[in-house]
């Protein structure tokens, strides 16, 4: 009897203690959660009440339905494997929809660039090429009757007639000239610039010289200076020394390297063991030797990735040549497309040629990317740098 009473009292005490503890906990929780948390909780309670009111036959149906996807609802069994498959399928669907959004415009662009006018029975134009082009969905209503790639030839002809001063032996070659110019502006400064950037990166990562940190932050701070705020002064100087008439304005500045490239390669070099360089030093290799025969081969993946990324950047550059290049002779491909776009984009017969020229400008970069995608994406992921 007494024992029982004692036991029950103990139970009561224990319960009290437990409930107090629980109350304290909830108070602390509500404090931590704040207003938003409380609101969420209220919503959760409302949801619980709602579920309580669901009739039993619906509950069973829901339990079976969700159970099939692996969710344990209303006491149903939860299946981890099924759940994972469910989320995988959702993930795949979202990723595929996104991927189609990413890829479809390129297909559209290619298909639209083949469009030509539709003719009626009398041989007159029923729908013009522009309409056929922009209403393309998977394939244009009618391709050109002069051959599938007629618009590509037409683009070259149009540009040649737009920039008539660009001739060689009396033959207009404005389009191919612009391709050559683009190659000049991207290959020379990028090759030299990546080399100088790599040398700076080597110094930043592996050498210890006075003023290293100063130089590094001095150069790094330069990325905050936007190009539009310095382009006018640059243009004034370049035009007064004649660089705007011969394309040097696009070539020389890039040869001095870029801090983002150097930064990227430096990050890579940090991960490289110093022991190799020390061994080379002991064997009597000077710093130049170390750089040329050890650092460059070892940092090849990073240097390659930077080379390709800079190459793409120069190839796609639009503002700098737009400002710096005044002669048609020295204009790159991007300006050529801009020129075609401003002259013919609303022209009912020649609009597809503008699209064709755009495809031509896009193609080399896409091919380059397809070849080197592993290097590029791998390097970006390794060092976390976009450009």
């Amino acid at each position: 009897m007494t024992e029982q009473v004692l036991l029950s009292m103990e139970d009561e005490v224990l319960e009290n203690v437990q409930s107090e503890g629980a109350a304290e906990e909830t108070a602390a929780e509500t404090k931590e959660r704040g207003k938003f948390g409380n609101a969420m909780r209220k919503a959760g309670n409302a949801l619980k009440n709602f579920f309580k009111r669901i009739p039993s036959y619906l509950r069973t149906a829901l339990r079976v339905f969700c159970g099939w996807f692996g969710f344990g609802v209303f006491g149903g069994p939860s299946n981890k494997k099924r759940k994972k498959i469910f989320f995988d399928v959702i993930g795949y669907v979202i990723l595929i929809v996104g991927g189609v959004t990413m890829l479809y415009p390129f297909w559209w662009m290619f298909a639209a660039s083949l469009a030509g006018p539709t003719y009626n029975a009398n041989g007159d134009i029923a729908t013009n090429a522009l309409t056929n082009m922009i209403t393309t969905i998977f394939w244009p209503a009618n391709t050109s009757r002069f051959g599938l790639f007629y618009n590509y030839e037409q683009a070259i002809t149009l540009l040649n007639s737009a920039w008539q001063t660009v001739t060689i032996g009396g033959q207009a070659y404005a389009f191919w000239r612009s391709v050559i110019n683009t190659l000049l502006y991207s290959l020379i400064p990028v090759t030299v610039g990546v080399f100088t950037s790599a040398s700076a990166a080597f110094a930043f990562a592996k050498l210890d010289f006075k003023g290293k940190n100063f130089v590094f932050f001095y150069c790094l701070a330069a990325i905050m200076v936007p190009f539009p705020s310095i382009m006018i002064a640059q243009f004034c100087v370049y035009s007064s020394i004649g660089w705007t008439d011969n394309g040097l304005a696009m070539i020389v500045p890039g040869c001095f390297g870029a801090i983002m490239t150097a930064f990227f390669i430096r990050q890579y070099l940090y991960g490289m063991p110093t022991a190799i360089l020390e061994a080379a030093k002991i064997d009597g290799a000077g710093y130049w030797r170390q750089f040329v025969s050890f650092v460059i081969p070892l940092a090849k993946p990073a240097i390659m990735a930077q080379f390709i990324l800079s190459f793409m950047g120069s190839w796609n550059n639009y503002l700098a040549p737009q400002v710096f290049i005044t002669e048609d002779m020295w204009k790159p491909l991007t300006l050529a497309i801009g020129q075609l776009d401003t002259s013919y984009s609303t022209d009912v017969t020649n609009a597809p040629s503008v699209m064709a020229a755009s495809v031509l400008a896009l193609l080399p970069i896409l091919i380059l990317f397809a070849i080197f995608q592993k290097t590029i994406i791998g390097s970006i992921m390794l060092t976390g740098s976009k450009e």
Partner: protein, 343 residues
């Protein structure tokens, strides 16, 4: 001999005198290896150092100087003439000019162009948070244990490498009057006489679509770097996927997010090519027809338009203002970052 002795004595005296005032300066050991390293270090960075100094810092100083002059391409012929002619209305003329309202009703004329193009640029910045949220979701999906993630990464990265000029040409036709989006979805964002809000959204869709891949790749790298053992510990402690994401993944992803934010704000303030190719120059150059207005052309486009019209001093002043804005935006972001570290 005598001379030597004298000089020795003098030396001794000098040393004694020096002793009284300060400790003897120890003769520095010339460390040949150290010297070599210093020289070579400077040789290796010299190209980058000179390039940065000349093409960025000196150019910036020159730009600042030009902004104080009344350098106009159609009036002055040589650069030196332009540099020498401080603006007759005073140093700050262009800086006052860009904030000067014309007419009685307040915002019109120059300051209207200035504020509206700047507002357009700021509106285009909306694409940054949208793109970051989208790419965060996509990269979380990509880091799940599923197949073909590499392929998806490559596909999402393609628009990033594609030429902006080509993309802009394509976009005009895709979203334009009677274009693909209108035939299939009935969306027409670029028709003549349409509201400029639609035009702005068209550009934002372009920049988001084009920038998604780069951010996704960076976020995937960041998410792969998140320490898996924390996840396991949290899972054993009974945390659900939602709180694991917010409490464990997000804090570790923070550096990547910060990097992406800073670089995209710097880049986003300089947006130019897309709207300029879709809409044309503003202010118009010569007699060229353009659908560019101050409501769809960003600030850099405005600088470019002013530059094209030969008002180089004016354009320089606008460029300096842009540099100041970008500098302060970067500063604010770093300050917020520092505050977060303290807390």
């Amino acid at each position: 001999m005598e001379n030597n002795n004298v000089s020795l004595a003098q030396d001794a005296a000098a040393v004694q005198a020096a002793d009284l005032t300060k400790p003897i300066p120890q003769k520095r050991k010339i460390n040949r290896a150290k010297l070599q390293e210093n020289i070579w270090g400077w040789i290796f960075v010299s190209a980058l150092f000179i390039g940065t100094t000349v093409f960025t810092y000196i150019a910036f100083a020159l730009s600042l100087w030009i902004s104080f002059t009344d350098y106009d391409a159609y009036i002055m012929t040589t650069f030196w003439e332009g540099l020498g002619s401080i603006h007759p209305d005073g140093f700050w003329h262009w800086y006052q000019f860009m904030f000067t309202p014309e007419g009685i009703l307040g915002i019109a004329g120059e300051s209207e162009d200035f504020w509206n193009t700047l507002g357009t640029t700021c509106f285009y910045l909306i694409g940054i948070p949208i793109g970051m949220v989208l790419s965060l979701g996509i990269s979380v999906l990509m880091t799940r244990d599923i197949k073909f993630t590499g392929t998806f990464r490559v596909i999402y990265y393609i628009p990033t490498v594609a030429s902006t000029v080509s993309i802009a040409v394509m976009w005009t036709n895709l979203f334009g009057d009677g274009g693909f989006m209108e035939t299939v979805f009935g969306i027409d964002l670029l028709s003549a006489g349409g509201s400029y809000w639609a035009q702005r959204w068209c550009v934002i869709i372009l920049t988001t679509w084009k920038g998604l891949g780069g951010t996704v790749v960076l976020f995937v790298a960041g998410l792969n770097g998140v320490n898996a053992s924390y996840h396991e510990a949290a899972e054993i402690d009974g945390a659900n996927a939602w709180s694991i994401f917010w409490r464990i993944t997000m804090p570790q992803l923070y550096p990547t997010i910060f990097y992406v934010l800073v670089t995209s704000v710097i880049g986003g303030m300089q947006i130019f090519v897309e709207p300029n190719l879709i809409f044309g120059n503003y202010p118009a150059t010569g007699n060229m027809a353009t659908s560019g207005t101050r409501y769809n052309i960003p600030f850099v486009g405005y600088i470019f338009g002013v530059f094209n019209n030969g008002e180089w001093a004016h354009a320089s002043a606008l460029g300096i203002i842009l540099a100041i804005i970008i500098f302060f935006l970067t500063l604010v972001q770093f300050a917020l970052d520092a505050r977060r570290d303290k807390v």
